[in-house]
């Protein structure tokens, strides 16, 4: 019971945060000299005051900022995010179209990053100050230091252009049809449609962008895993477990890693949220039609409804990811469960 009350309270607390987000994104979008008219109307129409006035009226730009903001909140309460100035589609529909590509990429990259990062981090802590620790730590620093757009170009050049063993940009080959829309995740939709050829192609296209992002994620995770494991490895119960004759691998994984999980979960949640929201650099190099590129296009054309819609979405993603991480704490740590 307390569990559900906890969740309900957390969900209630997100409402003021989301309101604040709309305010900040509205202020950023409006407290600026730029005028969306200059970006969104062709030069020939800019000289025609009637067209300009019609454009302003259509997008509510003729009202005062306070009125605009209140109108936005009113629409939002009815689940209406407004219409994008750039794509001329409802923002909610745009998001539904672009988000699955991002989810597919971010999830794959995070899964790969967890395997790599936790593995390296544990090895690093167990063989502390030996060559494997040194190598893993150096790899971690490189992972978080090399810009993703540089790594993406190197991988594309080596594995796609030179060796020809990996698929290039995009979610599918140009010759492939998209699978029937079900979840928007091509790997799942193609399997549901029984099209193994599309599935294989979608996976092939996922490999390079996932790998690029995974190296960054693995860098973050392995550093946290290492320091968290080091703390745990020095505990008395580790010595006790060894003294009882428990196998070393079991000592490290069951007694060690499971007690070191909390900070690792935190950093995983943080980086997953970040990938869902801000993989714009990777998305733009791999021509990945995701939410990051949508946001980039929106912000370079002062597409206020789209900018605010995506900002809200991102804040929501953060809140949900944080909530899930908190719930995982609850399952991982019996002490939290007891309280």
């Amino acid at each position: 019971m307390t569990f559900f009350r906890y969740i309900a309270r957390r969900v209630l607390f997100t409402i003021p945060i989301l309101l604040g987000i709309t305010l900040v994104s509205f202020l950023i979008a409006n407290a600026v000299p730029a005028d969306p008219i200059n970006v969104n109307l062709p030069q020939s129409q800019l000289n025609n005051p009637e067209i300009v006035a019609a454009f302003r009226a259509e997008w509510g730009l003729d009202k005062t900022p306070v009125e605009q903001y209140l109108t936005y909140l009113g629409n939002l309460a009815q689940g209406n995010l407004g219409r994008s100035i750039k794509t001329r589609q409802p923002v909610a529909e745009d998001i539904a179209r672009f988000l699955p590509a991002t989810i597919e990429l971010a999830t794959n990259a995070t899964a790969l990053g967890i395997i790599l990062g936790v593995g390296l981090g544990v090895a690093s802590a167990v063989w502390r100050n030996q060559w494997i620790d040194f190598a893993a730590r150096t790899l971690a620093v490189i992972g978080v230091s090399v810009p993703v757009f540089v790594l993406a170009l190197i991988f594309l050049s080596v594995f796609h252009a030179q060796l020809g063993i990996a698929a290039g940009p995009g979610r599918l080959d140009f010759t492939m049809d998209e699978p029937a829309m079900l979840t928007g995740l091509f790997t799942i939709d193609s399997l549901a449609a029984g099209r193994l050829d599309i599935f294989a192609n979608a996976v092939a296209h996922l490999v390079l962008p996932s790998l690029v992002l995974a190296l960054y994620v693995a860098g973050l995770i392995s550093r946290v895993t290492r320091s968290s494991m080091l703390e745990v490895l020095g505990m008395d119960y580790m010595r006790t477990a060894r003294a009882k004759g428990v196998r070393e691998s079991l000592v490290v994984m069951r007694h060690g890693l499971s007690n070191a999980l909390i900070p690792i979960l935190t950093v995983i949640g943080l980086s997953y949220g970040n990938l869902l929201a801000g993989a714009v650099l990777t998305e733009s190099i791999f021509a990945w039609p995701g939410i990051g590129r949508y946001m980039f296009r929106a912000s370079t054309s002062q597409d206020f409804p789209a900018i605010m819609g995506v900002s809200l979405l991102i804040a929501l993603i953060y809140v949900v990811v944080n909530l899930v991480v908190d719930l995982l704490y609850y399952f991982v740590d019996p002490r939290i469960r007891a309280n």
Binding site: G20, I28, A34, V141, F149, G273, S299, Y318
Partner: protein, 293 residues
């Protein structure tokens, strides 16, 4: 009398050598820190002396020799307008390094001031400042920076402003925590008791005891700032397209993807510099945080 003073001076001397010895010892145990310092120094010297070292002007075009592979004349090859890539990479440090440093300097000053006020004044000030910082932290770095630069218009100054807007909340939170901890110390209480003015207590008693942690954080952070600045610039939200800035050069180089030298050398520049700064940051953290030793 004289023997005492000579004893004292010999103690001083031995203290000095042992300190130098300690520093050498610490550096000896942190080979990556040393590597980082050397690489950063090399890049700074390269940027400072670019006009002397660079064989060509960074903006000098030579259209007959466009996108030529690396050669004896052009160590890094030439780009789409026949400009010398090696020279442009050297000049690039003049933009990216100061930009990263400025972001950290202004971001940490603004953030620390806000955090110090929040922690010191408490009450409603604390609430307001911390809630505002949380709102800014609810956006991912690059997205918020993107929105701000897109709004202000893309150029170097606005990219730096955007990054400061993104950067200050981290420092505000750090500084607030530090001030709250220091504030509860007896010597702060003592300063109140002898009637020291509040401003004096904040500036002279509390803040000096918080600065070390903030400085460690700035070194950990500077690589990140450079990375994000290069990212913004790569997206076209930084310096103008012709400028010899690393992120910008890579973005232009993508159109000449098979001519790898147009994007690989500036990419190597960013990567090596950020790796070096991260080595330094990690090394300093290991030294200052005894728990990690």
């Amino acid at each position: 009398m004289s023997s005492t003073s000579s004893t004292i001076s010999s103690i001083r001397v031995s203290a000095r050598t042992s300190r130098a010895g300690r520093i050498a010892g610490v550096l000896g145990r942190q080979p990556l820190l040393v590597v980082g310092i050397i690489v950063v120094i090399i890049w700074i010297i390269a940027a400072l002396l670019a006009s002397q070292i660079a064989p060509f002007e960074p903006l000098a075009q030579d259209v007959r020799n466009r996108v030529q592979p690396p050669s004896a004349a052009h160590l890094g090859g030439t780009d789409e307008l026949g400009r010398d890539v090696f020279s442009r990479v050297l000049y690039g440090g003049r933009i990216t390094i100061p930009a990263g440093i400025l972001v950290i300097v202004f971001g940490s000053l603004l953030g620390s001031a806000m955090g110090a006020l929040a922690g010191f004044l408490g009450g409603i000030w604390d609430e307001v400042i911390m809630r505002i910082s949380e709102l800014f932290m609810a956006f991912p770095t690059i997205i918020l920076a993107m929105a701000v630069t897109a709004a202000l218009g893309p150029d170097i100054r606005n990219a730096i402003i955007a990054l400061v807007v993104v950067w200050w909340p981290g420092y505000a939170r750090l500084m607030r925590g530090l001030v709250l901890k220091v504030k509860s110390n007896d010597y702060v209480e003592a300063a109140y008791c002898v009637g020291a003015p509040r401003r004096y207590i904040l500036l002279r008693t509390i803040i000096p005891n918080c600065i070390a942690s903030v400085l460690v954080m700035t070194t950990l952070d500077i690589g990140n700032a450079i990375l994000t600045f290069a990212g913004l610039s790569f997206l076209g939200l930084g310096p103008e397209p012709t400028s010899p800035e690393w992120g910008r050069m890579i973005a232009v180089g993508i159109d000449y993807f098979d001519q790898w030298w147009t994007w690989l050398y500036p990419g190597f520049a960013i990567a090596s510099l950020v790796i070096a700064f991260n080595f330094i940051g990690d090394g300093l953290r290991d030294i200052f945080d005894p728990r990690l030793r």
